[in-house]
Symmetry: C2
Amino acid sequence: MRTAAILIGILTLAMFIVCSTEGVERSPNGIALPQDFASWQLVAPSYRTDNGTIRTILGNKAAQEAILSGKVNPWPDGVILAKIVWKAQVSPDWQGAIIPTDFVHVEFMVKDSKLYRETGGWDFAGWVGKDLEPYGKDRSFVEECFACHQPVKSRDYVFTKPAFLPKIETK
Amino acid sequence: MRTAAILIGILTLAMFIVCSTEGVERSPNGIALPQDFASWQLVAPSYRTDNGTIRTILGNKAAQEAILSGKVNPWPDGVILAKIVWKAQVSPDWQGAIIPTDFVHVEFMVKDSKLYRETGGWDFAGWVGKDLEPYGKDRSFVEECFACHQPVKSRDYVFTKPAFLPKIETK
């Protein structure tokens, strides 16, 4: 009886240690998942008919400042763009609407024109699924990302054009 | 010459006064456009196949707290949801992608279960086009909004289910 109590105690402690140190691994290229990305400001939504996903692109503070000052080609160093992707489905409440369902992944573009000169000034990183497993076995996945962004080389490799948001002055 | 200088001075001052007091009118039901809505946090994107628009729903701080604590049916008093709507187009850079183009309008749902008891605890407001003209000639437009939200009465009249966003702990 006492042994059982001790065993339960040890197991509880072990579970606590495992759970409390559980976290999100870095991308193989060393990029850490930005903790606060879900609170970044809106850049634009998009919907992919070719793979049935719906997305929102958010930007960190540097990205927002770049958008407000119209300096998005090239985007300045320090900018991080986050693309959050969900599987898309027809809304059960409104047949003419496509809405997000399962979370697929979150992907980032990180701008540093010197550090990432060989890939257009950008580094890339992604985390897949609800468990946020880092994308890629080693650094080579970056080449795959960069290759895919070649069609928009003339826009600093960024597909997304920031969606118009009104500047407001109320009365 | 002196008269011309004075006239220019007066005109400049007049333009300054006009421009600096230019702003966004209140909705006919008295709701003021929330100044900071574009910086609110993401709730979900959506795409309407039936009217060719793409949208993002954002929520104020009360909405974010409600989402984090799972209390979204009913949504608590103080919650404001913003729906930003753009015309949708096929991306010229990626044929399988639908992206935003012209800004259409921004619409709000404002929760106060006592104040707006007659319309399910919600008031509604909208501002149309880049000039942000208030929607509706008088208060009666609210009935139109409320009627349209009846299919989701069982979810506190809100179509949008907050999209999954991972809670993050990095290591």
